[in-house]
Amino acid sequence: MAETTLEKKTFLSVENLLVQYKLSGETVYAVNNVSFTVAKGTTLGLVGETGAGKTTIAKAILRILPDHSLKGISGSVVFDGKDLLKLPETEMRSYRGKNISMIFQDPMTALNPVKTVVDQIAEGIALHQNMNKANARIKAIEMLETVGISADRADEYPHQFSGGMKQRVVIAIALACNPDLLIADEPTTALDVTIQAQVLDLISSLQQKLGTSMILITHDLGVVAGTCDAVAVVYAGEIIEYGSKEDIFDHPMHPYTVGLFGALPDLKKNVNRLSPIVGLPPDPTVAYTDSCPFAERCPHVAPQCREKKPHNAEVSQGHFVRCHLAGEIAGKAAP
C-alpha cells in the first residue's frame, strides 16, 4: 500500500487483513488481505453487497469473531500504535467498549432481554471508568437522555421499547465511554426510513460532540453520501476501490462501483429500466488468488483479468482502484 499523506493523522491502519472460516469441512475466504486507514475524527464508509465480508472486517478489528468456526486470521490492525491482533485477550478487553465500540444491525436482538436498559449501559461504564454502581447508573441515565430516552423509562426492559428506541439504547451503550473509534454495522437497515434519518442524525451529532472517528458499514449509498468522508467499496472480501467521497461519487473508476451507481434510481435521468449488475455474487469458498473476482460479471472483462490479480493502482491523489483497466474505462463510464 503506497505511503499516503494521511499517515501522521491516521490512528487506525489495517494492513492486509486475512480472515478465513471453516464451514462443515470447507474454508470460507471471508476477508482477503484488506488494507485501509481511518483518520482521527473522520468517517470511513464500507460499502458492498451483503456477504462481501464487511461485518467480518469490523468484528476482526474488535476481535469478537466466533472462535469455534474461525479457521485463521492474519495481517495487522494498528490502533494508536498497537497491533490489536497480537494483543493478549485481557489487554484487548480493556480496548473493547473504552477505545473501540460497536453498534449492531438488528436492534431487536442486540439487547439482553432480561436486564434493564440502564443496567446494560451502566455495566460498560462501571467496568471501564471504574465507578461504583450508583455513579455508573447516574452516568448511564445521562447517556440515555442524550440519545433522547426519558429518564423515567431507565428501569424498563428492552421488550417494552420499539425498534428505533432500542437502537438508541444500543448507541448509548456504544458511546457510553466516549470511545475513540465507533464501528457502526448497518445501524439503520432494520429500521424504517423516518426512524433511520433520526438515528443517523443522532450518531453524527454525537460524533461531532465527542470527536469519535467512525467506520460505517452499509449497503445503502444514500446513507454513505450523507455521513462519510472516505469510502471503501468491498467486493468478495477485498477493497476494490478506495477514495474520498467525492472521488467515488463523482468519478467511480472500478466497473463494480460504476455498476453500483447504475443500479441507483436517479430522479434527474428518466430511465425506464435500472441497469442491474448481471450474475451472482462470488463463491466465498474460492480464493481468487490469481484473477479478479469481478471478472465473470464485468462488462469490460479482458484476458489479463482472468490470469493476473489486479494490483491496487492509484489513479489520482488518494483514489485507489484494483482493476487492470482502471485508466481506460474512467472516461467512458463517467456520468
Binding site: 469455534h68 426492559y157 433520526q198
Partner: protein, 334 residues
C-alpha cells in the same frame, strides 16, 4: 403478582378434586378385595368377611362412599389405613420430610453439577471434552436405577466401607440414595443446559456484551445463563415433581420409608385410604411445585412477568412509546 398466585391456588382446588375422584374410581374398580388380603390365608367364614367389610365401610355403594370420602378430604381427614389402622394423614406427614429431603437434595445435586457441566459443554461444543461429557452423562442416564443402587451399595458400603448400606439417620445415610436417584436425570439437565446455552451464546446480545469488553466468565454467567434459564427451570420443576412420588425403587433398595414405597405397598395390599391419601398428597405437592416453577419463570424472564402484571400497565406503555417519536428530520440522502 399476588393476584396471579391467588388465581393459580384457586385453580389448584378443582385439579385436586379431579385427582381425588379419579383415584377413588380407579381404586374402586381395581380388582382385588382388601378384606381378603386382610383376613389372610386362614379359613374365614362369610359372616366375618361381611362384618369386616361393614366395619371398613366398603360395603356401601360407590356414590355413598365417594361422598363420605370427599367430605373427609375437605376436613383434611384421610381416614385410617385398613392394614395398619393408623391415621393416614399423620403417617404421610411423618414420611413427607424424608421424601422431601431426598427430592430437594438430589435436585440440588443435579443443578449444582448439571448446569455448570452443561455450560462447559456448550462453551467448547464439538471439542473432545464436550463429546466425553455427553457420552458419560448418557451412560449414567441409561443405567437402570435399581441396578445402579445395588452396585453402589456393593462398592461403597461393602467393599470400601465408607457409607452405611441403608436406613435413615445422619447425612451419610442420604449420600448414596441421592446420587443413585439423581444421576439418571443429570444427563437431561446437562443436555438441556447445553442446548439452550448454545442457542443463547450465538445471539446478538452476547456479542454486544463481548463488544463492551466484559470477561468471558462474566458474559457466560452474567448474560448468557440468565437467558438460558427458562427451559432449565422447566426440567427442574418436572424432575422435582417426579421425585416426590417416584422414588419407589430408591426407597425399596435403600430402605428409606418415604411416600413412594408407602404408596406401592398400599397398592399391593389394596389399602384404599393410604393410596388415596398419598396420591392426593403427591398431587398437591406437584401442583405447588408447578406454581413455584411458573413464579420462577416470571422471576427469570421479565417478559413473562409483564404478562402477569395485567393489562393496567400495558395501556400505559403503548401510549408512551407513541409520543416519544421525534418528528422526522435530517436532510434527504442523494
Amino acid at each position: 403478582m399476588i393476584k396471579y398466585i391467588a388465581k393459580r391456588l384457586l385453580q389448584m382446588i378443582p385439579v385436586l378434586i379431579c385427582v381425588a375422584i379419579l383415584i377413588f374410581t380407579l381404586m374402586f374398580f381395581v380388582p382385588g378385595d382388601p378384606v381378603q388380603i386382610m383376613l389372610g390365608d386362614y379359613t374365614s367364614t362369610p359372616e366375618q368377611i361381611a362384618e369386616t367389610r361393614a366395619r371398613l365401610g366398603i360395603d356401601k355403594p360407590y356414590w355413598e362412599q365417594l361422598v363420605i370420602y370427599l367430605n373427609g378430604i375437605v376436613h383434611l381427614d384421610f381416614g385410617e389405613s385398613f392394614i395398619l389402622g393408623n391415621d393416614v394423614g399423620e403417617e404421610l406427614l411423618e414420611r413427607f420430610p424424608r421424601s422431601l429431603t431426598l427430592a430437594l437434595s438430589s435436585l440440588g445435586f443435579i443443578v449444582i453439577l448439571g448446569v455448570p457441566l452443561g455450560v462447559l459443554c456448550a462453551l467448547n461444543a464439538g471439542k473432545l471434552l464436550d463429546k466425553i461429557l455427553m457420552v458419560l452423562t448418557l451412560i449414567l442416564n441409561s443405567m437402570p436405577t435399581f441396578w445402579l443402587g445395588l452396585l453402589m451399595i456393593l462398592l461403597f458400603s461393602v467393599r470400601l466401607n465408607w457409607l452405611p448400606s441403608n436406613g435413615i439417620g445422619g447425612v451419610e445415610y442420604y449420600v448414596m440414595p441421592i446420587i443413585a436417584a439423581s444421576v439418571g436425570s443429570l444427563a437431561n439437565i446437562t443436555r438441556q443446559t447445553r442446548s439452550s446455552m448454545l442457542e443463547v451464546i450465538r445471539s446478538d446480545y452476547v456479542t454486544t456484551a463481548r463488544s463492551k469488553g466484559l470477561s468471558e466468565r462474566k458474559i457466560t454467567y452474567g448474560h448468557a445463563l440468565p437467558n438460558a434459564l427458562i427451559p432449565i427451570i422447566t426440567i427442574c420443576g418436572s424432575y422435582f415433581g417426579f421425585m416426590i412420588g417416584g422414588t419407589t425403587v430408591i426407597e425399596t433398595v435403600f430402605s428409606i420409608p418415604g411416600i413412594g414405597s408407602y404408596l406401592v405397598n398400599s397398592i399391593n395390599s389394596r389399602d384404599y385410604p393410604v393410596v388415596r391419601g398419598s396420591i392426593l398428597f403427591i398431587a398437591f405437592s406437584f401442583s405447588v411445585i408447578m406454581l413455584v416453577v411458573d413464579l420462577l419463570y416470571a422471576f427469570a424472564d421479565p417478559r413473562i412477568k409483564a404478562s402477569y402484571a395485567g393489562n393496567k400497565r400495558k395501556k400505559k406503555e403503548t401510549a408512551e412509546t407513541g409520543a416519544d417519536e421525534q418528528p422526522a428530520a435530517g436532510k434527504e440522502g442523494t
